[in-house]
Each structure stands twice: as structure tokens, then as C-alpha cells.
Amino acid sequence: MTAFPLLDPALCFVILTTAVLAVAIRTVFAAVVSFIVFGLLMAIAWVRLGAVDVALTEAAIGAGLTGVLLLSTVARIAKHRADRGDDVPILEGPEPDPAPTDPLPGLATQSLAIVLSAAVAAALVAAVALLPVPAPGLVAEVGSRLSETGVESPVTAVLLAYRGYDTLLEIVVLLFALLGVWSLTADARWGGQPGLRHLARPDGVMAYLGRLLPPIGLLVGVYLFWIGGYRPGGAFQAGTVLAAVWLLAVMAGLVPIPKVSGIRLRLALVIGPAVFLAIGLAGYPLHGAFLGYPPAIAKVLIILIEAGLTISIATILGLLVAGAPEERPS
């Protein structure tokens, strides 16, 4: 079915190799890097499976943001260690696994783990083999009612119309992850700025990139947001790009990171879900159901929701990476 009969097996092999590496490799830092590579390869796999939307999300969020988060975690742990006097270099340094304080599980646990994971994998392989052959799916249903949603991209239709309720809960989940991260602030620092500081020297590469990239990123973000209605793309991908741009600008020292107690920041956090909720409620009188869109204005409503979501997603993702406030409020 493809011009590269060996491409898929090779890709799968590399994916699994990086997976094994991420688990088996000696240092935590290397494990994180392996995982990021694993994520990027997964994105390619998604393209191979014809799911470009998923591929974009996986690259931006699954590999990109997750990777940044994990890297910064490893770096900050190393910094704590260094602050305590355990002489560990910050980024490149091999954070040994286990660290001196961390116990390894016994042989019994290890063998149990092997048996268990092998059993799960085997059961799953069997389950895949058992799947019925004319495969059922909802392709036809999605297509047949696409016109009622006003959007052309089937994935966007699912995300914001057919299963918009999932997406509403999803953005709320994202918001609660941020609240969870914030809840780990020390009391004295509440109300201060999130932990990210600008690391760049004013004349360094970082600052240069920080000045160069934001306008481009902004453009890409807006494009992704707009294109979502027709082709792969949409609020989540756009939000991720905007968040990245914002973080870059912060790290370059171009814009200050806002305090967590700022009202504008709070409003930016809730605007997406709030608009979503409001339009959802408007569905009762307009279309007789929660989240019901009258076909005539469905497209407008969806764009409104996406606009709100993009703002909130960008803000939340950026702040998630920035972490809990570490500066005292002035």
C-alpha cells in the first residue's frame, strides 16, 4: 500500500529502540532525550497513519512541550542538588539513576515487572490480531453531517461539534493542571512570578532568537488557528506555538512574566473555557441542547470558541512550563 515497503517496519523498529533506550539508558537526562526522540518519531508514525492533526499535536505537545518540561525538571533537580553541595553539573551532567538516596527494586520486583509487562504486551498483540476485519468506524457518519457544523476539517468537527463536550472538559483539565502546579507554591511566594527567569545575556544567541522568532511564531500560530476549520491545525496546535513564542520572549528578557495573581492573567486563563461554556449554554435556547449550534451560525460560534481556546491554551501551556511561582511578590 505504500511506495516504501520497508519504511513502516523500519520506523516501528526505531520507535521501539528509542523506547527501550528511554527506559534502559543510564542517566535520566539521556532518558529524557530518548523520550523526546521517541515522541518525534511517533509524530512521523502519525503522518504515516494519515493523521496529520495528531502528528502536529504529538510533535508540539507530546514531544515538544513534554520534553521541555522534563528537561527543565531534570535541570532544576540538578540545581537543587548543586545547591545542597552535591556537585552535579546542571544540564549535561549525568544524573545517576538511582540517585544515592533512591533504592532499586529487588530481583523479585524486576522479574514480576518483566512477566507483567510481557503479559500485557502479549494480550494486546492478541487483541490487535483479533480485531474484526471489515473494521467498524464513524467515517461515514462524520462526513454525512459535516455541513451542519460549518467546518470542513472532520477532526475539527469532532473536536468542537460532535464531541465538543470532550474538548470542553479537556481545556478544563489543562486549567486544573495549572492550578495543581500553582498549588505547590510556597505560601510566601504566592502571588509572585512563575519560576522561569530569563537566562539569556542581552547580546547572546538566545536574545537574538528571542527577538527574531516571536513575530514569525505569532504568524504561524494565527495561521494554525485559522486553518483549523479547513485542514489539520486548530486551537491546540496554535496555542502551543504561541506559548512557545511567549516563553522564548520571556527567556530573552523581552517581556516580563506576569504574576500569578494578576487579574488579566486570570482572565486570559479562563476566557477559553468561559466562552465555550457560554456558547454551550446558549445552545439551550438556540438549538435545544447544551452545546447545540444552529447550522446557520455554527461556523461563527466554532471560530469564537477556537479564538478563546487559543488564548487560554497558550497562556496555560506557557505557565505550565514556567512552573510554580518562585519569586516573592514585591
Binding site: 494480550a123 494486546l124 492478541a126 487483541a127 483479533l130 480485531l131 474484526p132 473494521a135 467498524p136 468506524g137 464513524l138 457518519e141 462524520v142 453531517r145 451542519e148 461539534a161 460532535y162 464531541r163 465538543g164 463536550y165 470532550d166 470542553l168 472538559l169 479537556e170 478544563v172 483539565v173 486549567l175 486544573f176 493542571a177 492550578l179 495543581g180 500553582w182 498549588s183 505547590l184 507554591t185 510556597a186 505560601d187 504566592w190 502571588g191 495573581s261 487579574i263 486570570r266 482572565l267 486563563l269 479562563v270 473555557p273 468561559a274 461554556l277 454551550g280 449554554l281 445552545g283 439551550y284 438549538h287 435545544g288 441542547a289 447544551f290 452545546l291 447545540g292 449550534y293
Partner: protein
């Protein structure tokens, strides 16, 4: 035609509001910040009214369904409320109101010097998140949507554990989070396999399409394993006590009373509504044995705790065990029993009365910590004198744990026991009796201390506001009342229940 989406009546339109309300609450509280003081309580009250209204509509009109956005399944997501959902919804709302009143004494969005308080503010949206997750789980008829609701529940619940900023709770919270995440992923995996086989994730549609074959069994096993981990069912249970025992009292109450019940609820839904033909004797027995092991090990561990909050947390493990006895016992009644669905109703009843009793116990422990400065059981002498309402509530809630009348726990145990004896399944009855006696031992171990006269009169280190004590007593009284007026909740429960709730599995 998407025009007709109000469903058969107004009741269906209310379903989505049960999730909208708490979500809107969280969205409101965040920007309001330190001005948000009264918002949560109003929302809790509104939630109680809403849950009552939904239960009422289920009561008079039977099962409610609502297709969100007017998109029917399998394309869209359908909300569905039967008797079981309504009871869970109502339980949640009724626990949240007193817990909210209790928590107001501890979590004030505004600090004494007028600034915004971290824990005081964040507690409230997190509660709203838990609430939305619970309601979302109870009402959704779509397996993937339930996954999202469960994740919302987890991500709102875990930060509650560490909210007081105590270092000791961090490891507990992480362990909780990892178990919960793995659990949801296993659940999701099962759902993916079901989609691949049947092309839908709607529970009602799936129930018609699922056949008794190996792939369904693999899916069911994965989902069950994931949900057991989230419910803290033996042998995946040890994450629970440190997390529930270390959280602030109001959070512990919600976690132990409600959050673990959400995944239990799903296990019930899966087996009774989706896979009834799939569970054979062996499977049901395995689930029952997990339950039995949880009852015995949880009770014994509870006995050995030195701190009250940990004792109460371990008792949760034991009490969750009873719920899983409904699987081997389902359908065990004989002609002689006039009650239908004895074991099933008994299990659910146990979950509900345990919710009230356990919330009361955790809040009571919180008051003890506040009032006498600690919760070491050995040093509780004189507590019955200084905080009589709290100790009385402890005793009343203890009734439900022990399964003694009058309490909801007794009715639950009665239903389970008669079913066990009617079908000649002695072993399960013996486990329940042993669990009851062990529970009596740990409950009275605490009461004995509290009743004893101290050498010096016990002085409160900090006064305890009357309203907080009343909240504790209220919850305890509800758990007792469930044993006196169980007829209405019992009948409500039966609405929309599948045949398997009455006849058991194949």
C-alpha cells in the same frame, strides 16, 4: 433531527448543568480571587438543588438521556441518568455542602492581612474540579468522555493532597498520581479496543454489540484493572492511606467518600451494564476475593495505626472491599427473598452510606487536630468531654463501618448477607462478619480512649466553631438515617437497572 434534543422532558436538559455548574464555579472563583468567599457555598447549595431535581425527574419519569449538542450516539456524546447515577449525584451534592461549610473555617481566600491566600483560594476551584469530574463520570454514557472526566477528577484531587504544603504529603501525592494515571491509561486502552471492534464508545450501543469473546474479555480485563488501581482495591491499594491520611481533613473527606467511588461506579457499570455475559464464576470470585482480602487486610492495618486519620484511611480500604462482594453475590437470592437485586443494591448502598460516614470521620479527625492539636489515638483521653459532638459523630459513623443498626451500612450488609446465605455462599458471609467485628475493634479502640477520664482536664488549644462540629454531626446523622429511611433511595436505585442486577451474571 437535532431539533428535538430536550429529550422527553426538562429533566434531560438538566443533566449537562450538573457538570456546567462546578466548571463555571471554578472559572468564576479564579478571577475573583480573594473576593470569592461566598461563591463556593452558593454553588454547593445550587448543586444540591440541581441533583435533587435530576433525581426527582428520574423518579417520576425513569431514565433520562440527553445528546449533547443534539448529536446522537455514536457520533456524539450522550448523557444518561438512571437511578444509580441519580443516587451518586445526590450523594455527592449532599456530602459537598457540609464539607464546604467545614472547609470554610480552614480555607479562606483572603488572608488576615487582606491578601490572597494560596491554599485558601485554590482549595475551592479544586473542589469544583473534583465535583465536575464526579458528576461527569456519573452522567456520561460515553467511554472516552468518562476517561476525560476521570482525568479531571485525578488532576483536581491530587493537588488537594498536598495543599497544606507539608513535605510528607508529596510522595503520597505522587504515588497517588502515578497509580491514577496508569489506571486511566489501562481503562482507555480497553476503550480503544472496544472502539476497534464495535465502532462506538456509547455504553448503550456497545451493550447491544458486545459479544462474549476473547477480545471483549481482554478489553474488560484491562479496564477493570485500571479502575481497580484507581479505586485502591487490593492488591493495588497501598497508595491510598498515606494520600488520604495526609491530606487536609476536608480533602480527605472528599477523596475517601467520593473520589474512589467514581471508579468503583464504573466497575459496576462495566460489568453489570456492558459485560454481564462476560463475567463467569471465576471472574466474579476473583473480584470477590480481592474484596475479601481488602476487608481483612485493611481492617487489621487500621487496628495498628497510631494516628486517627490514618486509621480512618485504612478503614476506607476495608470498606471498599465490601463493594466488591457484590460481584460473586449478584443474583444470589432465592424465591424466599422478596427483595430484588439484593447484592447489587447492597453494594451500592454500602458505597453511599460509607460516603457519608467516612466524610464525617475525616472531618471529625480534622476537628480533633484543630481542637487538641494532634490526632494520636493514645492521647485522646477526655476528648468525649471537650468535643462531645465530634465523638458522638464518630460513634454514629462507626455504626456504618461496623454494619450495625441503625445505619445505612447495616442495610447494605443485610442485603449482602441474606443474599450470601440464601445462595449458600458461606465464605463471603463469614468475611463480612469478621470485617464487622474488626471494625468494631478499631472503632471502639478510639471511643474507649475518648471516653476515658484524663489525669488533667483536656484543654482545647484552639476553639472549634460550632458550625464545623455541626457539619460533622450532620454527615454522621445522614449515614444513620439511611438505615431508617432506606426505602426511597432503594427504589430510586432500581430505576433503569439492568437485568443482571437482579439475576447476576451468566
Amino acid at each position: 433531527m437535532p431539533g428535538v434534543v430536550w429529550g422527553p422532558d426538562v429533566g434531560s436538559g438538566l443533566l449537562a448543568l450538573a457538570v456546567v455548574l462546578p466548571v463555571a464555579g471554578a472559572l468564576l472563583i479564579l478571577p475573583l480571587g480573594r473576593h470569592a468567599e461566598r461563591v463556593p457555598h452558593l454553588l454547593f447549595m445550587a448543586g444540591l438543588v440541581l441533583a435533587t431535581a435530576i433525581a426527582y425527574h428520574v423518579w417520576i419519569g425513569g431514565v433520562l438521556t440527553a445528546a449533547i449538542g443534539g448529536w446522537p450516539a455514536p457520533l456524539g456524546i450522550v448523557l444518561r441518568a438512571d437511578g444509580l447515577s441519580a443516587v451518586m449525584l445526590l450523594t455527592t451534592a449532599l456530602v459537598l455542602v457540609p464539607v464546604g461549610i467545614f472547609a470554610a473555617g480552614e480555607f479562606q481566600p483572603r488572608t488576615a492581612d487582606g491578601r490572597e491566600s494560596r491554599a485558601g483560594l485554590l482549595f475551592w476551584p479544586l473542589m469544583m474540579g473534583v465535583w465536575a469530574g464526579l458528576n461527569g463520570t456519573f452522567l456520561s454514557n460515553d467511554l472516552f468522555n468518562i476517561y476525560v472526566a476521570l482525568e479531571l477528577l485525578t488532576l483536581a484531587a491530587v493537588p488537594l493532597v498536598t495543599l497544606e504544603g507539608k513535605a510528607g504529603t508529596l510522595a503520597a501525592a505522587l504515588r497517588y498520581l502515578l497509580f491514577a494515571l496508569l489506571g486511566s491509561l489501562l481503562y482507555m486502552l480497553g476503550a480503544a479496543l472496544l472502539y476497534g471492534t464495535h465502532g462506538t464508545l456509547d455504553l448503550t450501543l456497545l451493550a447491544d454489540r458486545v459479544r462474549d469473546d476473547a477480545s471483549a474479555l481482554i478489553a474488560a480485563a484491562l479496564m477493570t484493572a485500571g479502575l481497580l488501581a484507581k479505586t485502591a482495591m487490593f492488591p493495588l491499594h497501598l497508595w491510598l492511606p498515606p494520600a488520604h491520611g495526609g491530606a487536609p481533613a476536608a480533602a480527605s473527606a472528599i477523596l475517601s467518600a467520593l473520589v474512589v467511588k467514581a471508579s468503583f461506579y464504573l466497575v459496576v457499570r462495566l460489568w453489570f451494564d456492558l459485560f454481564p455475559s462476560l463475567l463467569d464464576d471465576t471472574g466474579a470470585t476473583v473480584l470477590g476475593l480481592f474484596g475479601a482480602a481488602a476487608i481483612l487486610s485493611g481492617s487489621v492495618l487500621a487496628l495498628r495505626q497510631a494516628r486517627l486519620k490514618l486509621l480512618v484511611a485504612y478503614s476506607t480500604l476495608a470498606q471498599l472491599g465490601y463493594l466488591f462482594l457484590m460481584f460473586p453475590l449478584a443474583g444470589g437470592g432465592t424465591e424466599a427473598q422478596p427483595w430484588t437485586a439484593g447484592a447489587w443494591s447492597g453494594g451500592i448502598f454500602h458505597a453511599v452510606s460509607h460516603a457519608f460516614a467516612k466524610a464525617s470521620l475525616f472531618l471529625g479527625a480534622g476537628i480533633l487536630v484543630q481542637g487538641i492539636g494532634h490526632d494520636r489515638i493514645a492521647d485522646l483521653r477526655g476528648a468525649a468531654r471537650s468535643l462531645p459532638m465530634v465523638i458522638a459523630a464518630f460513634g454514629l459513623s462507626g455504626l456504618s463501618l461496623m454494619g450495625l443498626p441503625p445505619s445505612g451500612g447495616f442495610i447494605a450488609k443485610w442485603l449482602l448477607l441474606t443474599t450470601a446465605m440464601a445462595s449458600g455462599r458461606w465464605g463471603w458471609a463469614v468475611v463480612m462478619f469478621a470485617g464487622g467485628l474488626l471494625a468494631a475493634t478499631y472503632v471502639f479502640r478510639v471511643l474507649n480512649r475518648a471516653m476515658a477520664t484524663p489525669e488533667q482536664p483536656l484543654r482545647l488549644v484552639q476553639p472549634v466553631h460550632q458550625s464545623r462540629q455541626l457539619a460533622v454531626l450532620f454527615l454522621a446523622l445522614v449515614s444513620v438515617l439511611l438505615g431508617l429511611v432506606p426505602a426511597i433511595p432503594f427504589e430510586l436505585l432500581q430505576i433503569g437497572g439492568g437485568l443482571s442486577t437482579v439475576e447476576g451474571f451468566r
